[in-house]
Protein backbone atom coordinates (compact mmCIF):
# COMPACT_ATOMS: atom_id res chain seq x y z
CA UNK A 1 0.00 0.00 0.00
CA UNK A 2 2.90 2.27 0.79
CA UNK A 3 4.21 1.51 -2.67
CA UNK A 4 0.91 2.40 -4.27
CA UNK A 5 0.74 5.75 -2.52
CA UNK A 6 4.35 6.46 -3.36
CA UNK A 7 3.56 5.73 -7.01
CA UNK A 8 0.56 8.05 -6.84
CA UNK A 9 2.63 10.85 -5.42
CA UNK A 10 5.30 10.28 -8.04
CA UNK A 11 2.93 10.27 -11.00
CA UNK A 12 0.99 13.25 -9.66
CA UNK A 13 4.04 15.42 -9.34
CA UNK A 14 5.29 14.09 -12.66
CA UNK A 15 8.84 15.14 -11.93
CA UNK A 16 10.30 11.69 -11.58
CA UNK A 17 12.38 10.31 -14.37
CA UNK A 18 12.30 6.71 -15.61
CA UNK A 19 15.63 5.93 -13.99
CA UNK A 20 14.17 6.89 -10.63
CA UNK A 21 11.33 4.44 -11.16
CA UNK A 22 13.78 1.76 -12.24
CA UNK A 23 15.82 2.26 -9.08
CA UNK A 24 12.57 1.93 -7.07
CA UNK A 25 12.03 -1.41 -8.79
CA UNK A 26 15.57 -2.54 -8.00
CA UNK A 27 15.43 -1.35 -4.39
CA UNK A 28 14.03 -4.59 -2.86
CA UNK A 29 16.76 -6.61 -4.60
CA UNK A 30 19.38 -4.29 -3.17
CA UNK A 31 17.80 -4.77 0.26
CA UNK A 32 17.89 -8.58 0.19
CA UNK A 33 21.19 -8.67 -1.71
CA UNK A 34 23.55 -8.77 1.30
CA UNK A 35 21.55 -11.58 2.94
CA UNK A 36 21.60 -13.62 -0.26
CA UNK A 37 25.36 -13.15 -0.58
CA UNK A 38 26.06 -14.13 3.05
CA UNK A 39 23.69 -17.13 3.19
CA UNK A 40 24.62 -18.30 -0.30
CA UNK A 41 28.34 -17.87 0.28
CA UNK A 42 28.65 -19.25 3.81
CA UNK A 43 25.88 -21.89 3.86
CA UNK A 44 24.90 -22.62 0.25
CA UNK A 45 28.38 -22.82 -1.24
CA UNK A 46 29.76 -25.10 1.53
CA UNK A 47 26.77 -27.41 1.05
CA UNK A 48 27.67 -27.78 -2.63
CA UNK A 49 31.33 -28.11 -1.70
CA UNK A 50 30.45 -30.89 0.74
CA UNK A 51 28.96 -32.96 -2.07
CA UNK A 52 31.97 -32.23 -4.29
CA UNK A 53 34.38 -33.17 -1.46
CA UNK A 54 32.62 -36.47 -0.89
CA UNK A 55 33.67 -37.44 -4.45
CA UNK A 56 37.33 -36.61 -3.86
CA UNK A 57 40.28 -38.16 -2.15
CA UNK A 58 41.16 -35.28 0.16
CA UNK A 59 43.81 -35.94 2.80
CA UNK A 60 46.56 -33.89 4.41
CA UNK A 61 48.58 -33.63 1.19
CA UNK A 62 45.56 -32.40 -0.74
CA UNK A 63 44.80 -29.94 2.06
CA UNK A 64 48.23 -28.36 1.66
CA UNK A 65 48.01 -28.36 -2.15
CA UNK A 66 44.36 -27.12 -2.02
CA UNK A 67 43.29 -29.60 -4.69
CA UNK A 68 41.59 -32.95 -4.29
CA UNK A 69 41.85 -36.05 -6.41
CA UNK A 70 38.62 -37.18 -8.11
CA UNK A 71 37.64 -40.70 -7.02
CA UNK A 72 33.96 -40.85 -7.94
CA UNK A 73 31.87 -42.85 -5.52
CA UNK A 74 34.82 -44.62 -3.87
CA UNK A 75 34.33 -42.84 -0.53
CA UNK A 76 30.72 -44.00 -0.41
CA UNK A 77 31.75 -47.56 -1.33
CA UNK A 78 34.36 -47.43 1.44
CA UNK A 79 31.94 -46.34 4.17
CA UNK A 80 29.21 -48.75 3.05
CA UNK A 81 31.71 -51.61 3.30
CA UNK A 82 32.92 -50.42 6.70
CA UNK A 83 31.32 -52.42 9.56
CA UNK A 84 32.02 -49.56 11.99
CA UNK A 85 29.90 -47.24 9.83
CA UNK A 86 26.92 -49.63 10.01
CA UNK A 87 27.31 -49.78 13.77
CA UNK A 88 27.48 -45.97 13.92
CA UNK A 89 24.33 -45.49 11.83
CA UNK A 90 22.35 -47.98 13.94
CA UNK A 91 23.64 -46.37 17.15
CA UNK A 92 22.71 -42.88 15.89
CA UNK A 93 19.19 -43.98 14.97
CA UNK A 94 18.67 -45.71 18.34
CA UNK A 95 20.14 -42.76 20.22
CA UNK A 96 17.95 -40.29 18.31
CA UNK A 97 14.74 -42.27 18.79
CA UNK A 98 15.46 -42.71 22.52
CA UNK A 99 16.08 -38.96 22.91
CA UNK A 100 13.10 -37.88 20.81
CA UNK A 101 10.54 -40.27 22.33
CA UNK A 102 11.62 -39.53 25.91
CA UNK A 103 11.58 -35.79 25.22
CA UNK A 104 8.09 -35.86 23.70
CA UNK A 105 6.54 -38.14 26.36
CA UNK A 106 8.03 -36.31 29.35
CA UNK A 107 7.30 -32.87 27.89
CA UNK A 108 3.68 -33.83 27.19
CA UNK A 109 3.26 -35.06 30.76
CA UNK A 110 4.74 -31.87 32.19
CA UNK A 111 2.60 -29.73 29.86
CA UNK A 112 -0.55 -31.58 30.97
CA UNK A 113 0.53 -31.15 34.57
CA UNK A 114 0.95 -27.41 33.99
CA UNK A 115 -2.75 -27.23 33.07
CA UNK A 116 -3.73 -28.68 36.45
CA UNK A 117 -1.42 -26.91 38.91
CA UNK A 118 -2.25 -23.66 40.70
CA UNK A 119 -1.00 -20.43 39.07
CA UNK A 120 1.83 -19.98 41.58
CA UNK A 121 3.21 -23.46 40.98
CA UNK A 122 2.83 -22.94 37.23
CA UNK A 123 4.97 -19.81 37.51
CA UNK A 124 7.62 -21.74 39.46
CA UNK A 125 7.75 -24.60 36.94
CA UNK A 126 7.84 -22.18 34.00
CA UNK A 127 10.74 -20.23 35.54
CA UNK A 128 12.63 -23.48 36.13
CA UNK A 129 12.10 -24.46 32.49
CA UNK A 130 13.26 -21.06 31.23
CA UNK A 131 16.41 -21.26 33.38
CA UNK A 132 17.31 -24.68 31.97
CA UNK A 133 16.52 -23.48 28.44
CA UNK A 134 18.74 -20.42 28.82
CA UNK A 135 21.79 -22.26 30.16
CA UNK A 136 24.43 -22.75 27.42
CA UNK A 137 24.87 -26.37 26.33
CA UNK A 138 28.58 -26.49 27.16
CA UNK A 139 27.82 -25.19 30.66
CA UNK A 140 25.17 -27.88 31.20
CA UNK A 141 27.55 -30.57 29.94
CA UNK A 142 30.17 -29.46 32.48
CA UNK A 143 27.56 -29.55 35.25
CA UNK A 144 26.44 -33.09 34.39
CA UNK A 145 30.04 -34.21 34.12
CA UNK A 146 30.54 -33.01 37.68
CA UNK A 147 27.31 -34.59 38.91
CA UNK A 148 28.25 -37.95 37.36
CA UNK A 149 31.86 -37.80 38.57
CA UNK A 150 32.82 -41.32 39.67
CA UNK A 151 34.41 -40.21 42.92
CA UNK A 152 32.60 -37.16 44.29
CA UNK A 153 29.57 -36.99 42.01
CA UNK A 154 26.27 -36.26 43.72
CA UNK A 155 24.37 -38.80 41.58
CA UNK A 156 26.42 -41.77 42.77
CA UNK A 157 25.88 -40.64 46.35
CA UNK A 158 22.11 -40.25 45.92
CA UNK A 159 21.65 -43.60 44.17
CA UNK A 160 23.64 -45.36 46.91
CA UNK A 161 21.63 -43.60 49.63
CA UNK A 162 18.38 -44.61 47.95
CA UNK A 163 19.59 -48.26 48.12
CA UNK A 164 19.41 -48.65 44.37
CA UNK A 165 22.75 -50.45 44.49
CA UNK A 166 26.33 -49.67 45.36
CA UNK A 167 27.39 -46.76 43.18
CA UNK A 168 30.45 -45.73 45.18
CA UNK A 169 33.27 -45.16 42.69
CA UNK A 170 31.01 -46.26 39.86
CA UNK A 171 32.29 -44.95 36.53
CA UNK A 172 29.30 -44.49 34.25
CA UNK A 173 31.38 -44.19 31.11
CA UNK A 174 33.18 -47.55 31.42
CA UNK A 175 30.12 -49.21 29.93
CA UNK A 176 29.00 -47.52 26.69
CA UNK A 177 25.34 -48.48 27.21
CA UNK A 178 25.30 -46.71 30.59
CA UNK A 179 27.41 -43.88 29.20
CA UNK A 180 25.02 -43.31 26.30
CA UNK A 181 22.15 -43.50 28.80
CA UNK A 182 23.72 -40.60 30.70
CA UNK A 183 24.11 -38.67 27.43
CA UNK A 184 20.43 -39.31 26.56
CA UNK A 185 19.52 -37.96 30.01
CA UNK A 186 21.60 -34.80 29.44
CA UNK A 187 20.09 -34.23 25.97
CA UNK A 188 16.51 -34.87 27.12
CA UNK A 189 16.88 -32.63 30.17
CA UNK A 190 18.09 -29.82 27.93
CA UNK A 191 15.36 -30.40 25.33
CA UNK A 192 12.38 -30.58 27.70
CA UNK A 193 11.91 -26.81 28.25
CA UNK A 194 11.39 -25.82 24.60
CA UNK A 195 9.16 -28.79 23.82
CA UNK A 196 7.12 -28.48 27.03
CA UNK A 197 6.48 -24.76 26.56
CA UNK A 198 5.49 -25.31 22.91
CA UNK A 199 3.09 -28.17 23.76
CA UNK A 200 1.67 -26.21 26.69
CA UNK A 201 0.98 -23.25 24.41
CA UNK A 202 -0.82 -25.69 22.10
CA UNK A 203 -2.83 -27.18 24.96
CA UNK A 204 -4.15 -23.74 25.83
CA UNK A 205 -5.61 -23.58 22.30
CA UNK A 206 -7.58 -26.83 22.65
CA UNK A 207 -11.22 -25.73 23.02
CA UNK A 208 -12.22 -26.67 26.55
CA UNK A 209 -15.94 -27.08 25.65
CA UNK A 210 -15.05 -30.01 23.37
CA UNK A 211 -13.07 -31.66 26.17
CA UNK A 212 -15.97 -31.01 28.57
CA UNK A 213 -18.44 -32.47 26.11
CA UNK A 214 -16.35 -35.64 25.90
CA UNK A 215 -16.31 -35.71 29.70
CA UNK A 216 -20.12 -35.47 29.82
CA UNK A 217 -20.34 -38.26 27.27
CA UNK A 218 -18.40 -40.43 29.71
CA UNK A 219 -14.88 -40.33 28.29
CA UNK A 220 -12.17 -41.04 30.87
CA UNK A 221 -9.05 -38.90 31.28
CA UNK A 222 -6.98 -41.12 28.97
CA UNK A 223 -9.72 -41.23 26.32
CA UNK A 224 -10.16 -37.47 26.49
CA UNK A 225 -6.44 -36.99 25.91
CA UNK A 226 -6.11 -39.63 23.19
CA UNK A 227 -9.27 -38.87 21.17
CA UNK A 228 -9.79 -35.13 21.75
CA UNK A 229 -6.61 -33.35 22.86
CA UNK A 230 -3.94 -35.30 20.94
CA UNK A 231 -5.56 -34.99 17.48
CA UNK A 232 -5.98 -31.23 17.96
CA UNK A 233 -2.32 -31.01 18.88
CA UNK A 234 -1.13 -33.18 15.99
CA UNK A 235 0.46 -30.33 13.99
CA UNK A 236 2.37 -29.17 17.06
CA UNK A 237 3.53 -32.71 17.85
CA UNK A 238 4.70 -33.09 14.25
CA UNK A 239 6.72 -29.87 14.38
CA UNK A 240 8.42 -30.55 17.72
CA UNK A 241 9.13 -34.16 16.75
CA UNK A 242 10.64 -33.05 13.44
CA UNK A 243 12.81 -30.37 15.09
CA UNK A 244 13.87 -32.72 17.90
CA UNK A 245 14.85 -35.38 15.35
CA UNK A 246 17.01 -32.89 13.42
CA UNK A 247 18.67 -31.64 16.61
CA UNK A 248 19.18 -34.99 18.33
CA UNK A 249 20.51 -36.68 15.19
CA UNK A 250 23.23 -34.03 15.04
CA UNK A 251 24.13 -34.14 18.75
CA UNK A 252 27.85 -33.52 19.04
CA UNK A 253 28.74 -31.30 22.00
CA UNK A 254 27.20 -33.47 24.71
CA UNK A 255 29.05 -36.62 23.62
CA UNK A 256 32.32 -34.95 22.72
CA UNK A 257 32.71 -32.82 25.85
CA UNK A 258 31.30 -35.34 28.37
CA UNK A 259 33.98 -37.78 27.19
CA UNK A 260 36.75 -35.20 27.51
CA UNK A 261 37.09 -34.70 23.74
CA UNK A 262 38.32 -38.27 23.23
CA UNK A 263 35.24 -40.47 22.79
CA UNK A 264 36.08 -44.12 22.09
CA UNK A 265 34.53 -45.72 19.00
CA UNK A 266 31.82 -47.24 21.24
CA UNK A 267 30.39 -43.72 21.53
CA UNK A 268 30.58 -42.73 17.86
CA UNK A 269 27.38 -41.30 16.44
CA UNK A 270 27.29 -40.24 12.82
CA UNK A 271 28.21 -36.62 13.67
CA UNK A 272 31.18 -37.67 15.81
CA UNK A 273 32.30 -40.24 13.22
CA UNK A 274 32.26 -37.68 10.41
CA UNK A 275 34.24 -35.28 12.60
CA UNK A 276 36.76 -37.98 13.53
CA UNK A 277 37.36 -39.13 9.96
CA UNK A 278 37.99 -35.58 8.79
CA UNK A 279 39.73 -33.77 11.63
CA UNK A 280 41.08 -36.76 13.57
CA UNK A 281 42.61 -38.83 10.76
CA UNK A 282 42.53 -36.05 8.08
CA UNK A 283 40.38 -37.96 5.60
CA UNK A 284 38.21 -34.99 4.60
CA UNK A 285 36.74 -36.81 1.58
CA UNK A 286 35.55 -39.74 3.72
CA UNK A 287 34.27 -37.39 6.41
CA UNK A 288 32.35 -35.42 3.78
CA UNK A 289 30.79 -38.64 2.42
CA UNK A 290 29.60 -39.52 5.95
CA UNK A 291 28.18 -36.00 6.36
CA UNK A 292 26.35 -36.34 3.02
CA UNK A 293 24.76 -39.60 4.23
CA UNK A 294 23.75 -37.80 7.44
CA UNK A 295 22.10 -34.94 5.52
CA UNK A 296 20.32 -37.45 3.25
CA UNK A 297 18.90 -39.37 6.24
CA UNK A 298 17.70 -36.08 7.71
CA UNK A 299 16.13 -35.01 4.41
CA UNK A 300 14.16 -38.27 4.26
CA UNK A 301 12.99 -37.86 7.88
CA UNK A 302 12.08 -34.19 7.37
CA UNK A 303 10.17 -34.94 4.15
CA UNK A 304 8.14 -37.54 6.03
CA UNK A 305 7.17 -34.99 8.67
CA UNK A 306 6.44 -32.30 6.08
CA UNK A 307 4.16 -34.72 4.17
CA UNK A 308 2.33 -35.60 7.39
CA UNK A 309 1.97 -31.91 8.26
CA UNK A 310 0.55 -31.14 4.82
CA UNK A 311 -1.90 -34.06 5.24
CA UNK A 312 -3.04 -32.67 8.59
CA UNK A 313 -3.43 -29.21 7.06
CA UNK A 314 -5.58 -30.64 4.24
CA UNK A 315 -7.89 -32.43 6.68
CA UNK A 316 -8.25 -29.37 8.91
Amino acid sequence: MATAIAADIESASGSFSGSRRLSMRLLPYALIGPSVVVIGGILGFPLAMLVWLSLQHYGLRELIAHTGEWVGLQNFQAILADPLFHEVVVRSLLFTSACVSLTIVLSTLIALLLLRVSPVVRGVVMSALVFVWATPVIVTVDIWQWMFDYEFGVINYLLTQLHLGNFIHHNWFDNPVQGLGVIVLVVVWGAIPFVTITIFAGLLQVPSDVVDAAHVDGAGAWQRFWYVTAPTLKPIFLIVTCLSTIWDFGVFNQIYVLLNQRPSSDYFTIAIYSYRESFGVTQYGLGAAIAVVMVLILVVVTLFYVRETVKVAEIA
Binding site: S35, P46, L53, F131, D142, W146, N253, Y284, M294
Partner: protein, 301 residues
Protein backbone atom coordinates in the same frame (compact mmCIF):
# COMPACT_ATOMS: atom_id res chain seq x y z
CA UNK B 1 -49.66 -37.13 41.62
CA UNK B 2 -47.33 -36.26 44.48
CA UNK B 3 -48.58 -34.11 47.32
CA UNK B 4 -46.76 -30.75 47.77
CA UNK B 5 -45.55 -31.76 51.25
CA UNK B 6 -43.94 -34.96 50.03
CA UNK B 7 -42.24 -33.12 47.26
CA UNK B 8 -40.75 -30.69 49.76
CA UNK B 9 -39.49 -33.54 51.90
CA UNK B 10 -37.87 -35.17 48.92
CA UNK B 11 -36.20 -31.91 47.94
CA UNK B 12 -34.88 -31.32 51.46
CA UNK B 13 -33.51 -34.85 51.66
CA UNK B 14 -31.85 -34.48 48.31
CA UNK B 15 -30.18 -31.22 49.23
CA UNK B 16 -28.89 -32.69 52.49
CA UNK B 17 -27.17 -35.59 50.71
CA UNK B 18 -26.01 -33.17 48.01
CA UNK B 19 -24.28 -31.04 50.64
CA UNK B 20 -22.49 -34.06 52.07
CA UNK B 21 -21.51 -35.07 48.56
CA UNK B 22 -20.23 -31.59 47.83
CA UNK B 23 -18.07 -31.60 50.93
CA UNK B 24 -16.63 -34.94 49.94
CA UNK B 25 -16.06 -33.78 46.34
CA UNK B 26 -14.50 -30.60 47.66
CA UNK B 27 -12.10 -32.54 49.87
CA UNK B 28 -11.19 -34.85 47.00
CA UNK B 29 -10.77 -31.82 44.76
CA UNK B 30 -8.48 -30.09 47.22
CA UNK B 31 -6.39 -33.22 47.84
CA UNK B 32 -6.01 -33.69 44.10
CA UNK B 33 -4.99 -30.06 43.62
CA UNK B 34 -2.47 -30.41 46.44
CA UNK B 35 -1.11 -33.57 44.80
CA UNK B 36 -0.72 -31.88 41.39
CA UNK B 37 1.01 -28.91 42.99
CA UNK B 38 3.40 -31.21 44.84
CA UNK B 39 4.28 -33.06 41.62
CA UNK B 40 4.74 -29.71 39.85
CA UNK B 41 7.16 -28.49 42.51
CA UNK B 42 9.04 -31.79 42.34
CA UNK B 43 9.41 -31.40 38.55
CA UNK B 44 10.71 -27.85 39.01
CA UNK B 45 13.17 -29.04 41.67
CA UNK B 46 14.51 -31.88 39.49
CA UNK B 47 14.90 -29.58 36.47
CA UNK B 48 16.63 -26.84 38.47
CA UNK B 49 18.86 -29.03 40.62
CA UNK B 50 21.82 -29.20 38.17
CA UNK B 51 21.89 -25.41 37.90
CA UNK B 52 21.64 -25.05 41.67
CA UNK B 53 24.45 -27.57 42.06
CA UNK B 54 26.68 -25.56 39.70
CA UNK B 55 26.15 -22.31 41.63
CA UNK B 56 26.45 -24.03 45.02
CA UNK B 57 29.70 -25.75 44.02
CA UNK B 58 31.09 -22.49 42.63
CA UNK B 59 30.72 -20.83 46.05
CA UNK B 60 32.11 -23.72 48.14
CA UNK B 61 35.68 -23.89 49.42
CA UNK B 62 37.65 -26.81 47.92
CA UNK B 63 37.41 -29.05 50.98
CA UNK B 64 33.60 -28.86 50.87
CA UNK B 65 33.51 -29.83 47.19
CA UNK B 66 35.51 -33.04 47.35
CA UNK B 67 33.51 -34.80 50.05
CA UNK B 68 32.08 -38.28 49.80
CA UNK B 69 28.92 -37.05 51.53
CA UNK B 70 27.91 -33.95 49.57
CA UNK B 71 27.31 -30.69 51.43
CA UNK B 72 23.93 -29.52 50.19
CA UNK B 73 24.38 -25.82 50.99
CA UNK B 74 27.45 -23.67 50.40
CA UNK B 75 28.44 -22.59 53.89
CA UNK B 76 30.89 -21.02 54.41
CA UNK B 77 30.82 -19.12 51.12
CA UNK B 78 34.00 -18.28 49.24
CA UNK B 79 34.84 -16.36 46.09
CA UNK B 80 38.13 -18.23 45.70
CA UNK B 81 36.82 -20.37 42.82
CA UNK B 82 35.84 -17.29 40.83
CA UNK B 83 39.25 -15.74 41.43
CA UNK B 84 40.91 -19.00 40.36
CA UNK B 85 38.80 -19.22 37.20
CA UNK B 86 39.52 -15.62 36.20
CA UNK B 87 43.23 -16.05 36.92
CA UNK B 88 43.46 -19.15 34.68
CA UNK B 89 45.51 -18.70 31.52
CA UNK B 90 43.49 -17.32 28.61
CA UNK B 91 40.23 -16.79 30.53
CA UNK B 92 40.25 -13.03 30.02
CA UNK B 93 41.56 -13.39 26.45
CA UNK B 94 38.73 -15.74 25.65
CA UNK B 95 36.11 -13.48 27.26
CA UNK B 96 37.40 -10.68 25.07
CA UNK B 97 37.32 -12.90 21.96
CA UNK B 98 33.74 -13.96 22.69
CA UNK B 99 32.69 -10.33 23.14
CA UNK B 100 34.46 -9.18 19.95
CA UNK B 101 33.02 -12.02 17.87
CA UNK B 102 29.48 -11.55 19.17
CA UNK B 103 29.62 -7.74 19.01
CA UNK B 104 30.95 -7.41 15.46
CA UNK B 105 28.72 -10.22 14.23
CA UNK B 106 25.62 -8.61 15.76
CA UNK B 107 26.22 -5.19 14.19
CA UNK B 108 26.66 -6.77 10.75
CA UNK B 109 23.80 -9.24 11.18
CA UNK B 110 21.28 -6.65 12.40
CA UNK B 111 22.07 -4.29 9.52
CA UNK B 112 21.88 -6.98 6.84
CA UNK B 113 18.83 -8.67 8.36
CA UNK B 114 16.99 -5.37 8.76
CA UNK B 115 17.47 -4.51 5.07
CA UNK B 116 16.17 -7.92 4.04
CA UNK B 117 13.26 -7.68 6.49
CA UNK B 118 12.16 -4.33 5.04
CA UNK B 119 12.65 -5.61 1.51
CA UNK B 120 10.42 -8.64 2.05
CA UNK B 121 7.84 -7.01 4.33
CA UNK B 122 7.30 -3.75 2.41
CA UNK B 123 7.81 -4.70 -1.25
CA UNK B 124 6.32 -7.29 -3.54
CA UNK B 125 8.85 -8.43 -6.11
CA UNK B 126 9.76 -11.42 -8.23
CA UNK B 127 11.72 -14.01 -6.29
CA UNK B 128 10.36 -12.93 -2.89
CA UNK B 129 8.81 -16.32 -2.20
CA UNK B 130 11.95 -18.10 -3.36
CA UNK B 131 13.99 -15.96 -0.97
CA UNK B 132 11.67 -16.74 1.97
CA UNK B 133 11.71 -20.47 1.18
CA UNK B 134 15.51 -20.35 1.14
CA UNK B 135 15.50 -18.58 4.53
CA UNK B 136 13.43 -21.38 6.05
CA UNK B 137 15.02 -24.29 4.20
CA UNK B 138 18.57 -23.34 5.05
CA UNK B 139 17.80 -23.67 8.77
CA UNK B 140 17.17 -27.38 8.28
CA UNK B 141 20.79 -28.12 7.31
CA UNK B 142 22.72 -29.36 10.35
CA UNK B 143 25.73 -27.15 10.94
CA UNK B 144 27.85 -30.12 11.94
CA UNK B 145 27.67 -31.37 8.34
CA UNK B 146 29.08 -28.11 6.99
CA UNK B 147 32.15 -27.97 9.20
CA UNK B 148 34.46 -29.76 6.79
CA UNK B 149 33.81 -27.51 3.76
CA UNK B 150 33.74 -24.40 5.97
CA UNK B 151 37.13 -25.31 7.38
CA UNK B 152 38.62 -25.98 3.95
CA UNK B 153 37.07 -22.81 2.54
CA UNK B 154 38.46 -20.59 5.30
CA UNK B 155 41.77 -22.42 5.14
CA UNK B 156 42.04 -21.57 1.43
CA UNK B 157 41.68 -17.86 2.18
CA UNK B 158 43.90 -17.97 5.26
CA UNK B 159 41.13 -17.25 7.77
CA UNK B 160 41.49 -20.36 9.95
CA UNK B 161 42.42 -19.42 13.54
CA UNK B 162 41.20 -15.87 12.98
CA UNK B 163 38.22 -14.24 14.60
CA UNK B 164 37.07 -12.93 11.20
CA UNK B 165 36.38 -16.45 9.94
CA UNK B 166 34.27 -17.31 12.98
CA UNK B 167 32.40 -14.01 12.69
CA UNK B 168 31.54 -14.80 9.06
CA UNK B 169 30.23 -18.28 9.93
CA UNK B 170 28.17 -17.01 12.89
CA UNK B 171 26.75 -14.28 10.68
CA UNK B 172 25.39 -16.89 8.28
CA UNK B 173 24.25 -19.00 11.21
CA UNK B 174 21.99 -16.35 12.79
CA UNK B 175 20.93 -14.47 9.66
CA UNK B 176 18.06 -16.70 8.44
CA UNK B 177 16.24 -16.63 11.77
CA UNK B 178 16.92 -12.90 12.22
CA UNK B 179 15.52 -12.01 8.79
CA UNK B 180 12.44 -14.11 9.45
CA UNK B 181 11.75 -12.60 12.89
CA UNK B 182 12.47 -9.01 11.91
CA UNK B 183 10.25 -9.42 8.86
CA UNK B 184 7.42 -10.26 11.23
CA UNK B 185 8.11 -7.16 13.32
CA UNK B 186 8.24 -4.84 10.29
CA UNK B 187 5.12 -6.40 8.74
CA UNK B 188 3.25 -5.86 12.02
CA UNK B 189 3.75 -2.10 11.80
CA UNK B 190 0.95 -0.90 9.55
CA UNK B 191 2.12 0.78 6.36
CA UNK B 192 -0.75 3.24 7.00
CA UNK B 193 1.41 4.85 9.66
CA UNK B 194 4.07 5.62 7.06
CA UNK B 195 1.46 6.80 4.57
CA UNK B 196 0.03 9.18 7.16
CA UNK B 197 3.54 10.55 7.65
CA UNK B 198 3.98 10.99 3.90
CA UNK B 199 0.68 12.84 3.59
CA UNK B 200 1.90 15.12 6.37
CA UNK B 201 4.92 15.96 4.22
CA UNK B 202 7.57 13.40 5.07
CA UNK B 203 9.60 11.91 2.24
CA UNK B 204 9.33 8.15 1.82
CA UNK B 205 12.71 7.60 3.45
CA UNK B 206 11.93 10.20 6.11
CA UNK B 207 8.62 8.54 6.94
CA UNK B 208 10.38 5.23 7.27
CA UNK B 209 13.17 6.54 9.47
CA UNK B 210 10.91 8.63 11.71
CA UNK B 211 7.94 6.32 12.04
CA UNK B 212 8.70 2.69 11.26
CA UNK B 213 12.28 2.52 12.49
CA UNK B 214 11.55 3.58 16.11
CA UNK B 215 8.65 1.14 16.26
CA UNK B 216 10.88 -1.74 15.15
CA UNK B 217 13.22 -0.96 18.07
CA UNK B 218 11.92 -3.71 20.35
CA UNK B 219 12.11 -6.17 17.45
CA UNK B 220 15.75 -5.25 16.89
CA UNK B 221 16.49 -5.73 20.59
CA UNK B 222 14.76 -9.12 20.64
CA UNK B 223 16.56 -10.40 17.53
CA UNK B 224 19.86 -9.01 18.81
CA UNK B 225 19.46 -10.97 22.04
CA UNK B 226 18.60 -14.08 20.09
CA UNK B 227 21.75 -13.66 17.99
CA UNK B 228 23.81 -12.98 21.10
CA UNK B 229 22.64 -16.21 22.74
CA UNK B 230 23.24 -18.30 19.60
CA UNK B 231 26.76 -17.00 19.06
CA UNK B 232 27.78 -16.89 22.73
CA UNK B 233 26.75 -20.55 23.21
CA UNK B 234 28.23 -21.92 19.98
CA UNK B 235 31.03 -24.42 20.47
CA UNK B 236 31.93 -26.73 17.61
CA UNK B 237 32.68 -24.09 14.94
CA UNK B 238 34.86 -22.10 17.32
CA UNK B 239 36.58 -25.30 18.48
CA UNK B 240 37.44 -26.41 14.93
CA UNK B 241 38.37 -23.01 13.51
CA UNK B 242 40.27 -21.45 16.43
CA UNK B 243 43.31 -23.53 17.34
CA UNK B 244 45.54 -21.27 19.43
CA UNK B 245 44.38 -20.91 23.07
CA UNK B 246 44.64 -17.10 23.04
CA UNK B 247 42.26 -16.96 20.08
CA UNK B 248 39.47 -19.14 21.41
CA UNK B 249 36.04 -18.32 22.80
CA UNK B 250 34.65 -18.84 26.26
CA UNK B 251 32.79 -22.07 25.45
CA UNK B 252 35.96 -23.64 24.02
CA UNK B 253 37.86 -22.58 27.15
CA UNK B 254 35.15 -24.12 29.30
CA UNK B 255 34.90 -27.36 27.34
CA UNK B 256 38.64 -28.02 27.48
CA UNK B 257 38.85 -27.20 31.18
CA UNK B 258 38.72 -30.79 32.48
CA UNK B 259 40.99 -32.04 29.72
CA UNK B 260 43.66 -29.43 30.31
CA UNK B 261 43.58 -28.96 34.07
CA UNK B 262 42.15 -32.22 35.40
CA UNK B 263 38.80 -32.10 37.14
CA UNK B 264 39.06 -29.01 39.35
CA UNK B 265 35.38 -28.72 39.91
CA UNK B 266 35.31 -25.51 41.95
CA UNK B 267 36.94 -23.21 39.38
CA UNK B 268 35.18 -25.08 36.54
CA UNK B 269 31.74 -24.46 38.08
CA UNK B 270 32.69 -20.82 38.75
CA UNK B 271 33.71 -20.44 35.09
CA UNK B 272 30.50 -22.14 33.99
CA UNK B 273 28.45 -19.78 36.17
CA UNK B 274 30.23 -16.76 34.67
CA UNK B 275 29.63 -18.07 31.14
CA UNK B 276 25.96 -18.80 31.71
CA UNK B 277 25.16 -15.60 33.59
CA UNK B 278 24.88 -13.13 30.67
CA UNK B 279 22.84 -15.62 28.66
CA UNK B 280 20.31 -16.22 31.42
CA UNK B 281 20.01 -12.46 32.01
CA UNK B 282 19.43 -11.72 28.33
CA UNK B 283 17.03 -14.62 28.01
CA UNK B 284 14.83 -13.22 30.74
CA UNK B 285 14.74 -9.84 28.96
CA UNK B 286 13.97 -11.54 25.63
CA UNK B 287 10.93 -13.27 27.11
CA UNK B 288 9.35 -9.96 28.00
CA UNK B 289 10.00 -8.45 24.58
CA UNK B 290 8.57 -11.39 22.72
CA UNK B 291 5.48 -11.45 24.91
CA UNK B 292 4.31 -7.85 24.50
CA UNK B 293 2.18 -6.60 21.62
CA UNK B 294 4.39 -3.91 20.18
CA UNK B 295 2.19 -1.56 18.24
CA UNK B 296 -1.06 -2.43 19.94
CA UNK B 297 -3.32 0.59 19.63
CA UNK B 298 -1.11 2.59 17.27
CA UNK B 299 -3.82 2.64 14.61
CA UNK B 300 -7.46 2.08 15.38
CA UNK B 301 -9.82 0.11 13.18
Amino acid sequence: MIAPGTAQGVLAGRSRSATAGRVRADLWHRTRQWLFDAIGLAVAAVMLFPIYWMVATAFKPGRDILTLTPKWFPAPITLQNFQDAIARPFFLDDVRNSLVIVGVMLVLALTIAFFAAVGTARFGFRGRTAFLVMIIGVQMVPLIALIIPLYLMLDAVGQVDSLAGVIAVYLALVLPFMVWTLRGFVANIPAELEEAGMIDGCSRVGAFLRITFPLVGPGLVATAIFGFIQAWNEYIIAYVLLSSPGNQTLTVWLASFTTNHGPQWGPLMAGATLTGLPVVAFFLILQRYLAGGLTAGAVKG
